[in-house]
């Protein structure tokens, strides 16, 4: 029996579909029943993180995310995951609302970065300017002796995110992501993370000189592992076999060393 994971989704809705596809692709099956059960709140009406954190206008998404978390748990979720990096700024509101674990994309991505990058290395963050502004990854990276470096052209990153949200990725969004990762590589960031689920939709566009991974793939792996770990076996129980990585739509630049 597998455990059901609740997805705080809709940020954006295309990224939520992508994570569902990656979870499906990560599961070898013989029939439907071998796939992982999810309950997905595809809620595109969560107040804009960009408006709240960058523009300084608009409603606080925290209470809406807390409500979504409560509803997902009421609907049977035994853990939660949120395919939106920026929204992890509101993780404390979610954790305060429910008793089930939040599989934390920030913690998982920082652990992956630490496995890839040498001590003291800069880690390139391909994200919304809001992520730099709130320092979403900085403290966790710093605790592991790493430091975050951000793409210099923040206006271009924000424009690319808005363009993808409006009508799906166009070539100019891919060009902006490639330019940002090239600029980070030029600054010495040989390890980079895609830390915006809109960029997960165009992960193949990154500059190929750095080892780049996608924080979404970290959370996919955590969801599969959680779902397969029988609650009766407990924390020390038999470890589920490592999930096969996404066979379709995978980021070809992702460096897997696990």
């Amino acid at each position: 029996m597998m455990r059901r994971v609740g997805i705080l989704g809709g940020m954006g809705p295309q990224a939520t579909i992508l994570i569902m596809q990656k979870i499906l692709d990560a599961t070898r099956v013989r029939d439907d029943a071998d796939h992982i059960p999810l309950i997905v709140d595809q809620n595109p009406q969560v107040p804009s993180r960009i408006r709240h954190l960058i523009d300084g206008t608009g409603a606080d998404p925290g209470p809406v995310l807390a409500d979504m978390a409560r509803r997902l748990v009421a609907a049977g979720a035994e853990a939660l995951a949120m395919p939106c990096n920026t929204a992890h700024h509101y993780a404390p509101a979610i954790r305060a609302a429910v008793d089930v674990p939040l599989l934390n994309m920030v913690d998982l991505a920082v652990a992956r970065a630490a496995a890839l990058a040498g001590p003291g290395s800069p880690v390139g963050i391909l994200a919304s300017p809001a992520v730099r502004k709130v320092g979403l990854f900085d403290a966790a990276l710093s605790q592991r002796g790493l430091r975050a470096v951000y793409a210099p052209d923040e206006a271009a990153m924000l424009a690319a995110i808005r363009q993808i949200k409006a009508d799906g990725p166009r070539p100019e969004a891919r060009r902006a992501l490639r330019a940002a990762s090239a600029a980070l590589a030029a600054q010495g960031a040989t390890v980079q993370m895609i830390a915006c689920t809109e960029f997960s939709l165009i992960a193949e566009a990154v500059d190929k000189t750095a080892a780049t991974f996608d924080s979404m793939d970290c959370i996919v792996q955590a969801i599969v592992t959680f779902a397969r770990k029988s609650p009766n076996k407990g924390a020390n129980g038999h470890r589920a076999p490592a999930p096969k990585l996404a066979k379709r739509r995978s980021n070809p630049t992702m460096e897997e060393r696990r």
Copy 2:
């Protein structure tokens, strides 16, 4: 403010992802917030419809579907939809469990067939053999002066569905669907419906001599229309603009006459 639709999903999980993509593609947007809110129970553990209806073994999916419906309504769904044709055999159990409407794929597909086919015409049904066995479409088609005709090689259809569920569509599944639609066309079925959401994943494979539509597209349209109709406006309120049809992954053989 849009109304939230609950999706009884996981039958199969890839078809649930496809309907979410079609709903997204049917919505012109400027930002996330213009998209339709969904709550999706991606439950691949619903007892097999094939085992219950064809093999005569295995659990009744009805009570599980009723439970899912209750949970979705508790999580905020104001209507339900189920991207699995065969599972509509259990629609009475769902309707008995909740007070919100079930946007019924069978009724919607039959209405579409009646708009396309002349009186007395045969309508080709590309579906699981379970659909013929339980006569899922027969009574509703007959009420509109139409009659259902089924693909003769039922073993090939069932094998194709099982293959798609196991590891995604392979060429032999596409060949089986094409052969079935060609056989139905040879029997005079100039109008045909894809009535299995596994076949929705390979809708482009149908024989091109008939006008073929996908029952999944009927329900996508109903979901978009329901979500956009403000509850305050009521049944006689302002009609939402007709949704743009799926721009990606659309079935190129679909004949739209609305």
